[in-house]
């Protein structure tokens, strides 16, 4: 059956063989053909040798969620052949390196085998072990190009752009592509029934991962201090921040830096540095993941109680403990919302894709300074490390950072008095002063009990007064955080509510469920604390399906805690095994609950 611009394929290789550049080339070529495309990198916590996969979904309707059904498998790792063969959809295709014979046990009658002697051809054409391995990967890209009908001119241009500075690499890449391409054209009916045709659906889009986008947001927000401890999958946030700062933040004449990146000894110190830098008046942030967040709990509590801004980018991975560092999950939802001992509640922003990672990164700095508190950008590995197709980013040049109630030297000079924790305006947000500015601004920042004047206290009433004001302050942020996204269907009595990276799967599932006659109203929460419209949404529906990626239904727990809506009105739909959520997870979850109820 012919299927144009609507299929998925998967490439199985070993880590460290250079397959990333081949996969990137394929993604970009499809994108430049104007066809919507998404890639999911399924990689091991390893540098060399362990199996790795790259999944590419082509979808003319623009659905970007992961699909677990593959029409074509490029099986190049003998170690995973059995598993890879099993994953091909019936009627699909499997391309393998026929330099070695394929075990008969791996033959399936319902799929078509495409034998390409990649190693043999590359060994004949290239010299040296490393080049042969690398070019084998480029050769499979060439073969794929032939099989699914990628535009050869686009590939040629991409290769030229990429290796413009390295002539020898350009030559070998061009040769390797031709090797694979010519072979499949000569030996198979090309293109396959599943193939590409040029469209015009990507010209206003870019391909970007969420960590790069978040880092870009930090640059545009004016962050000057970044402190971090390397951790998968958050590392590339700081790497990207550094790259952008080296490009945009150096004095043209002296090359001196208008930023400081501190690689801390651990995450305790990383957040301590952010707290110190923010206290001194810089916009500062730290990217981390679950294990780092666990260590940061101590400083999160201090920043909350002493009211110091801090931006924490949590790129969630699977937990508990070390978990699977290279797999995705939404396992930190509750920790971000209520981190640290004692009574705390934190502002959280939940991006669903790199576009929101960019916007919300900027927002996070504004909110952290405005509310003088830690703000979490709760991303995940899927958003952070995979390439997503998103509308081109734009920037409003009239943007001014919201520094909140920071008093200038002038204002302090004129002020009759300054008390750090006094609720002067009745909104729960006190005035703030920075060190080194004015003698009148001096106060003592502390995590121990303090009164509204900033003095140490062990007095019951004084202590409680400050604690209650902070609660009011944070509650006041409900109107300032990004508001929920709502999509209603006339007559729908059921709701579906989700968060962050589940969005792509939910959007696709809603369309497919509607085709089956199941109408659902949709809400995606984008910020915490939740506003009243979240409670209303839950109350308005007979049942709302709560879709999330963790075992314990953390989002549902938060909804119960924060809205008081009874748990019976919420049906939990979860997938938490480490892959990005697919539409079929949502659909089967919803249908199972409906069937049970019927």
């Amino acid at each position: 059956m012919t299927r144009v611009n609507d299929f998925a394929f998967k490439i199985a290789t070993a880590n460290g063989t250079g397959s990333a550049s081949a996969n990137g080339l394929i993604m970009q070529a499809i994108f430049r053909m104007g066809v919507p495309v998404t890639g999911k990198n399924v990689f091991p916590s390893n540098i060399q040798g362990l199996p790795t996969w790259y999944e590419i979904r082509v979808n003319k309707n623009g659905y970007t969620a992961r699909t677990p059904h593959f029409d074509l498998m490029v099986a190049l790792n003998a170690a995973t052949y059995a598993k890879d063969v099993a994953e091909v959809r019936s009627g699909g295709y499997l391309m393998f390196d026929s330099s070695w014979p394929l075990d008969d046990k791996l033959r399936r009658p319902d799929i078509t085998y495409i034998a390409v002697p990649l190693a043999e051809m590359c060994n004949a054409l290239f010299k040296g072990v490393r080049e042969r391995i690398l070019m084998k990967n480029i050769a499979y890209a060439g073969a794929l190009a032939g099989l699914i009908g990628m535009d050869t001119e686009i590939i040629a241009n991409l290769t030229k752009e990429k290796y413009a500075a390295k002539k020898s690499l350009l030559d070998s890449n061009e040769k390797a592509i031709a090797l694979g391409f010519d072979y499949v054209r000569a030996n198979f009916q090309c293109p396959l029934p599943i193939h590409l045709e040029k469209m015009d659906a990507t010209k206003d889009s870019i391909l970007i991962d969420g960590n790069t986008a978040a880092a870009l947001g930090a640059v545009y927000a004016g962050a000057t201090v970044g402190a971090w401890y390397p951790i998968t999958p958050a590392t590339s946030v700081m790497e990207a921040f550094k790259t952008f700062c080296m490009k945009y933040r150096r004095d043209p004449a002296t090359k001196q830096k208008k930023f400081a990146i501190l690689q801390a000894e651990d995450e305790l110190a990383a957040l301590g540095m952010v707290v110190g830098a923010s206290w001194a008046g810089a916009r500062a942030f730290t990217p981390t993941a679950g294990p780092g967040l666990s260590l940061m709990n101590e400083f999160i509590g201090l920043a909350y109680y002493a009211e110091v801004p801090a931006v924490i980018v949590d790129v969630q991975r699977t937990g508990p403990s070390t978990g699977m560092p290279t797999r995705t999950q939404q396992g930190d939802l509750m920790m971000c919302a209520y981190a640290s001992h004692g009574d705390t509640r934190h502002i959280c922003l939940y991006p669903a894709d790199p576009a929101e990672a960019f916007e919300m990164a900027v927002k996070a700095f504004d909110l952290a300074e405005r509310f003088q508190t830690p703000v979490f950008l709760v991303s995940d590995l899927d958003i952070g490390m995979n390439d997503w197709m998103i509308p081109k980013l734009s920037w409003d040049d009239s943007y001014q950072p919201d520094r909140g109630k920071v008093l200038s030297a002038d204002e302090l000079e004129k002020a009759k008095s300054f008390y750090r924790y006094l609720d002067v305006d009745g909104d729960g947000i006190p005035q703030r002063s920075l060190p080194g500015v004015h003698p009148k601004g001096a106060y003592f920042t502390r995590g121990s009990g303090h009164n509204k004047f900033g003095g140490y206290t062990e007095d019951a009433d004084e202590y409680q007064e400050v604690l209650d004001r902070i609660a009011r302050k944070i509650q006041g942020a409900t109107r300032a955080v990004p508001q929920p996204l709502v999509k209603t269907t006339p007559g729908a009595k059921l709701g579906l509510l989700t968060i962050g990276g589940c969005h792509a799967a939910c959007v696709e599932a809603l369309d497919l469920l509607a085709k089956d006659g199941i109408a659902l109203n949709y809400m995606r929460v984008r910020g915490f604390p939740f506003g009243d419209e979240v409670r209303q949404f839950l109350e308005q529906h007979d049942v709302t399906f709560i879709v999330e990626q963790n075992r314990d239904a953390q989002l549902r727990s938060m909804l119960m805690l924060e809205t008081g809506v009874h748990v019976e009105k919420m049906e939990s739909v979860r997938y938490y095994a480490g892959f990005p959520m697919s539409a079929h997870h949502v659909i089967s979850g919803v249908k199972a609950k409906l069937e049970k109820a019927a």
């Binding site: 870019i206 640059v219 000057t224 208008k258 110190a269 830098a277 734009s394 920037w395 001014q400 140490y456």
Partner: protein, 351 residues
């Protein structure tokens, strides 16, 4: 309770510095430590040092961790921002504050529990980074606020108040600092203000991490016979090897010492430390020699004091980072944000 404000009425005859401020202007709240606590003497030395250096108090940031020592920033420089952070984590906060605003004059006060146990890692890394700050470790060998447990600086054989002897090896902050590449290492005694004040001043002027270990007896839990951190023990066993005289930038060097006994070290801001050698042949710019000398004195049961090591070519965090001059906090947003044109151009590489 550190909120009791001191009366600001000054005696008219109090001496003023070049800013027109008296020493009282460099004080803070009334101490809540035990009467006779070594920490209060160190506070007095800090007040004197800042006053004499004519530093405007609000240009200073004073930071600490948790513990008796960490309460003391409330007792000096009331016009400076203070940060009583979390236990053992002051170095990270100081590192961040310094990164944001390198113009802040930073003093960190910590104790032996804060620095050598819970915060050992942070101290080590602040030394490695060479954060530009004065770091005063008020060292009494004991946990005060939790009533008398041994700290990591308690010497083997030293006894607790109830007679129990410490069996574990002590962590010596000065040796540790030297090993980690510290650019300024000093040891003093809270009871020796003449020695301590110029060390603090030199530490403030030093561009980099100035580590000052001050033996500061705990009168309540560690001032008995059998303690090696008591007033009596320290007075008897302290051996000053080198005495620092701090000479600010504009002051002429007036005192003369016999040739060969004085070593001049010029600091980043142009001020000078004159190191008067009490011990013959001691070279305070030789890290290995300093290390060996400290070990040598330890073996003899002595506490070697003075400005033990100073590196004349210290490179602090900002020098290493090649940061623009001035605080990062004062750079206007339009210099930090590349703008929409740059964003559109950049995105061509994402296609």
């Amino acid at each position: 309770m550190s909120y009791i404000a001191k009366p600001k009425v000054h005696h008219p005859s109090l001496k003023k510095n070049t800013l027109g401020l008296t020493r009282r202007d460099y004080e803070g709240a009334i101490t809540t430590l035990c009467a006779g606590c070594g920490h209060d003497s160190i506070t007095a030395a800090i007040i004197h040092a800042f006053w004499e250096l004519n530093i405007a108090p609000h240009k200073v940031a004073k930071l600490s961790g948790i513990g008796c020592s960490s309460k003391t920033p409330a007792y000096f420089l009331r016009e400076a921002h203070g940060f009583n952070s979390v236990h053992g984590r002051m170095p990270a906060v100081a590192t961040g504050a310094n990164a944001a605003n390198g113009d802040l004059i930073m003093i960190g006060v910590s104790g032996d529990g804060d620095s050598l146990s819970i915060g050992l890692g942070q101290l080590c890394h602040a030394i490695r980074r060479n954060v530009n700050m004065l770091y005063v470790l008020e060292n009494n060998g004991v946990y005060g606020l939790t009533k008398g447990q041994f700290s990591a600086s308690a010497d083997p054989g030293s006894t607790a108040k109830k007679g129990e002897a410490n069996t574990m090896q002590a962590i010596d902050g000065a040796l540790l600092a030297l090993t980690l590449g510290a650019t300024f290492v000093a040891r003093s005694f809270s009871g020796d203000k003449n020695q301590l004040v110029p060390i603090i001043q030199a530490g403030i002027a030093h561009r980099g991490f100035a580590f000052v270990d001050v033996i500061s007896p705990c009168v309540t839990f560690n001032d008995h016979e059998g303690s090696t951190k008591s007033y009596a023990y320290t007075r008897e066993h302290a051996v000053e090897v080198v005495h620092a005289d701090f000479v600010p930038l504009r002051d002429p060097i007036t005192t003369d010492y016999p040739e060969g006994t004085v070593q001049h070290v010029t600091l980043h801001d142009g001020s000078t430390v004159k190191l008067r050698k009490v011990a013959k042949d001691y070279d305070a710019t030789n890290r290995d020699a300093a290390y060996a000398a400290i070990r040598d004195h330890q073996r003899r049961g002595e506490v070697m004091t003075g400005l033990l090591y100073i590196s004349p070519d210290s490179q602090d965090v900002h020098a290493q980072n090649e940061t623009v001059p001035g605080p990062l906090t004062s750079i206007p947003h339009d210099q930090l944000c590349p703008g929409n044109d740059a964003l559109q151009k950049l995105q061509q590489q994402f296609r």
